[in-house]
Amino acid sequence: MFLKDISISFITPCSADPGKVQLIAQLSTEITGVMPYLKAVLKNATYNRNVSSLTFMKEFRLITLYPRHLTMARVLNTTDAWQVLNWLKDLINDVYERRESIIPSRF
């Protein structure tokens, strides 16, 4: 498995702003090389090559991927956070496995 784990390192579950839980999570693997392929698969993503970041929406949640970590905003709760992180891990691993059949997007 390419990406074994995504672990939450910071979360704001009890904030003053309803529906605005934010989190930072650490990636067990460096993913810079997968970002152009993810950009090709995630139609609404914005890829910034200069800082190696990929920003996209997962329904109402705003996710930004960096080489070794990610940030996520507007998460419903911790259960929602873990569910989305599981989805993201599966997505990254799937794209990595299929990368030879995907035309990478570098813009």
């Binding site: 579950p13 009890c14 309803p18 529906g19 911790t78 259960t79 929602d80």
Partner: protein, 384 residues
């Protein structure tokens, strides 16, 4: 240590991993879940989420945010029944129900004016799905029934009833107190809109754990309000699950044990567990046939029941049988009405109750032999 045959009340012993998981959580993590952002709070969050995932795998639930933790199946049933039914609604239930279903329904009958139809089961506890279909009215809102009787072990046709309910647009609530972890459950195959389960019986978790699956689109009012760790500025419960129904601090140490219990089941395989209980139950039922005079209730067929066997010894009151079993033979069984008077009316034992044996995965043939020998001696003395 005697012979424990009260697994229908709570399972004992638990898998070794359950004891270790609770101990490890309390010593090494110990924090509340869904509140803090420090490392141990995040570990507690992960324990709770992993438990949801394991339960989702066991019950065929993809969106595990639809699994709400409660303190037991009674709370789950109260949440489902009181959260769903409104004045003027009609509800259908079976005549084999536990008071955890019957008492909330009777309270709503008194307070909200709901109407209740009880579909009669046969003397062996079995139910015909067609009888449920015939009882449905235009205002029927809910069908609620046990998956397996806690008195006779009789397995009710949940899949057939679920199909009827789905076809007629009626919500379907299953009380899986006696089947979760013991009998294969897939909420999609059963057509369950709501599945109430307890953690401390077939799922091998500690007491004080349970849950409710709520299918997407089923709207319930919360049973309780309070802190959820998020959306704190709101003056009402948040709309999203599981927070909407999980006010207050979760029993995370219990849930850690529940996770270990469900992991044990997933590792062993639900088919293997079911086969083992069928083997033990069938062996017990066959052996009981050789004791003159013993009255056994239910289907008397391990294919049609879970590991619950109820009986009476002619000439000896059920509490006396249980007392002699305990004090004379070290056998732990339960006598009485088992909080299910309707079921006892159905099988004809409302005036005397039964002695109930709850067989579990860790019981052995040798233990069953000892119980049969004890019952034969009690029956023999009573017959003199």
């Amino acid at each position: 240590m005697g012979i424990y045959l009260d697994n229908a009340a709570t399972s004992y012993p638990k898998p070794e991993t359950v004891y270790r998981a609770v101990d490890a959580f309390m010593r090494e993590i110990g924090a509340s879940s869904g509140r803090g952002a420090y490392r141990q709070a995040l570990l507690a969050d992960k324990v709770v989420f992993s438990a949801r995932e394991a339960l989702g795998k066991l019950f065929g639930i993809n969106d595990v945010s639809r699994i709400v933790f409660t303190s037991n199946v009674t709370e789950s049933l109260n949440l489902a029944i009181k959260g769903l039914l409104k004045a003027g609604d009609h509800v259908i239930t079976s005549s084999m129900e536990h008071n955890a279903v019957w008492r909330p329904l009777k309270r709503l009958e008194n307070e909200r004016g709901i109407e209740i139809t009880v579909v009669s089961c046969s003397r062996d506890g079995s139910l015909r799905a067609g009888d449920v279909a015939r009882a449905i009215r235009p205002n029927t809102r809910l069908v609620v029934m046990t998956h397996a009787s806690n008195v006779t072990g009789t397995i009710l046709p949940a899949g057939e009833v679920g199909a009827v309910a789905r076809e007629r647009g009626v919500a379907f609530l299953i009380d899986a107190a006696q089947t979760a972890g013991i009998y294969p459950i897939d909420v999609r195959a059963l057509g369950a809109d709501l599945l109430a389960f307890t953690g401390h019986k077939g799922l091998f978790g500690p007491t004080g754990t349970g849950g409710l699956f709520i299918r997407e689109g089923v709207e319930l009012l919360p049973l309780k309000e309070g802190g959820t760790g998020g959306d704190s500025i709101l003056e009402s419960q948040p709309d999203h699950l599981p927070d909407r129904f999980e006010a207050g601090t979760l029993n995370v140490s219990g849930i850690a044990g529940l996770l270990a219990g469900v992991d044990f089941i997933l590792h062993e395989g639900i088919g293997r567990i079911r086969d083992r209980e069928k083997e033990l139950t069938g062996y017990f039922l066959q052996a009981l046939e050789r004791i003159p005079g013993i009255e056994v209730y239910g289907p008397k067929d391990p294919e049609k029941q879970v590991g619950v066997v109820s009986l009476n010894v002619p000439g000896v009151m059920a509490p006396d049988v249980a007392r002699v079993l305990d004090q004379g033979y070290g056998v732990m069984a339960r006598s009485g009405l088992h909080c299910a008077p309707m079921a006892h009316r159905t099988i004809g034992t409302i005036d005397r109750g039964t002695v109930r044996f709850g067989i579990g995965y860790f019981n052995t043939i040798k233990e069953i032999d000892s119980v049969v020998q004890a019952l034969a001696e009690i029956a023999g003395k009573a017959g003199r």
